[in-house]
Amino acid sequence: MIYIYYLIFYGFILTALIGLVASWIDRKVTARVQYRVGPPFLQPFIDIVKLLGKENLIPRGSSKITFLMAPIIGFSSVILVSTLLWVNNIDRGNTFIGDLFVVVYLLTIPSISIMMGGFASGNPLASLGASREMKLILSYEFPFILAVSVPIIQSGFSIKIGEILTHQAQSGVVVGSISGTLALIVVILCMQAKLALVPFDIPEAETEIVGGPLIEYSGAGLALYRLMKNMLLFTVPFFIIILFMGGMRYEGIHLLFGILKYIGLVALITVIRNTNPRLRIDQAVGFFWGPVSLIAVISVVLALLGV
C-alpha cells in the first residue's frame, strides 16, 4: 500500500510539480538572458491544461495503436523512475540488487517512446527526427554508462542505489574525488543530450524539422509528451544528485543544500542551452564518441586506481 502512495504522491504529483516549476525557471531565465520579460509563473501548468482540452487528431496512414500508446509508455516509465529514486532517497534500506540498472534502462524508454511515436505517425519529418533521436541515443549512452560506473566502483562495486547513498554519507560524496569530478562533467553533457536541449536538440530542431517526432501530435498526446519532458527535467538531475552528490536529505540545513544542488544543475542546463548553437548529428556523435568517451574512460581508470 505504501508503494502506491509513493507512486502517486512522490512519483507523479511531486515530480510533475517540481518539473513544471523547473521548466518555468528555464523559460524565464532564457527570456531574461535575451532581455525579454518571459512567461508568467503558471504558464507551464496552463499549457498542459490547454493541451488536455484540445482535439486529438490521428493522421491518416499512421499506425493508430502505436501512435496513441507511445506517449503513455514514455510517461509511465518516467513515473516509475522517479518513484524508484524517491524510494531509495527516502529510505536507503529499501533497495534491491541492480536497481541502478533498472533506473538506467528506464531512463532510455522516454527517448524510445518518442522514436515510436515519430515512426508511427507516418510523417517524413517525424521519421527523420526519430532516426536522429536513435543516433543520439547510440552516441550518448556509452559515455553515460561508463560515467555511471564510477560511483559503482567507488562504493566497492555495489549496484544498489541505497548502498551508494550510504557509502557517500559515510566517506564523502563521489564528486569530491578527481574521477568523480570527471565523471560528473561527462554525465552533465549526457544529461543535456538526454533532455534534448539546445546543443543536442537535433531530433526536435524547431527551425529545421519543425518539432521532429512530435510534429503530428496534438491535444492529449502532446500534453503527455510535454509533461514527460518536464518531469525528465527533474528526474535526470535528481539521478545525478543521488549518484554523485550524496542525494537529498530532509533534516534542517541539508534540505536547503539539496534544493541548492538541484537549482544549480538546472541553472547549468539553462546556461549551456542559452550559450550554444545546435550541432549537426554527425558532430554530436563525434563529440560523444571522441572526447567525452575518452574523459569517461579516464575517470573509470582513475576510479579503479582509487583516485
Binding site: 523559460r27 518571459g38 496552463i46 490547454k50 487528431l57 518539432g211
Partner: protein
C-alpha cells in the same frame, strides 16, 4: 467560461500561414517575438506545426493555388481554435482586388475571428488585435 477556453486564452500558440503575401506582414509577425514586444509574456509561442497551434495567423491575398491549402490547414488545426487575418491583403485583397488570381478574401474561405488592418500592421497593432480577440471570446462565451 469553461476551463478549456480559459486555458486556451492564457496560452494561445500561434501558427503563421502566408498565403501569397509580399512577406511584409510576416516580418511584422516575427517582430512580435523580439525582445521589444515579447509576446511570450502573454503565454504565446510560435508553433512550428499546425497540430500544436491554437491561433492561425493568415497573411496575404489568398490566391487560387492557396485556397485548397488554406482549407486543409484549417481542418488540420485541432479545435477549439481561432483565426486572425493580418494585413490589408487578407482582409480585402488590397491592391490585388482586380487580379484574376485572387477571387475571394480570406474570410470567404474560412471563418475569421478578428481582422487586423494595415499594410503592414505594426507589431503594436497585431498585439492589440489579439487582445481584442481575447476580449471577444471572453464576452461571447460568458
Amino acid at each position: 467560461m469553461s476551463i478549456k477556453l480559459k486555458a486556451l486564452l492564457k496560452s494561445p500558440w500561434v501558427f503563421h500561414l502566408s498565403t501569397g503575401s509580399c512577406n511584409n506582414c510576416d516580418i511584422e509577425v516575427l517582430d512580435c517575438l523580439t525582445p521589444r514586444f515579447d509576446i511570450e509574456r502573454f503565454g504565446m509561442l510560435l508553433a512550428g506545426s499546425i497540430r500544436h497551434a491554437d491561433v492561425l495567423l493568415v497573411t496575404g491575398s489568398a490566391n487560387r493555388k492557396c485556397i485548397p491549402r488554406i482549407k486543409k490547414i484549417y481542418e488540420q488545426m485541432p479545435k477549439p481554435a481561432l483565426v486572425v487575418a493580418i494585413g490589408e491583403c487578407s482582409l480585402s485583397r488590397g491592391m490585388f482586388i482586380h487580379s484574376y488570381n485572387c477571387p475571394v478574401p480570406v474570410d470567404h474561405i474560412i471563418p475569421v475571428d478578428v481582422y487586423i488592418p494595415g499594410c503592414p500592421p505594426k507589431p503594436e497593432a497585431i498585439i492589440a488585435g489579439v487582445v481584442k480577440l481575447i476580449e471577444k471570446v471572453k464576452q461571447s462565451k460568458s
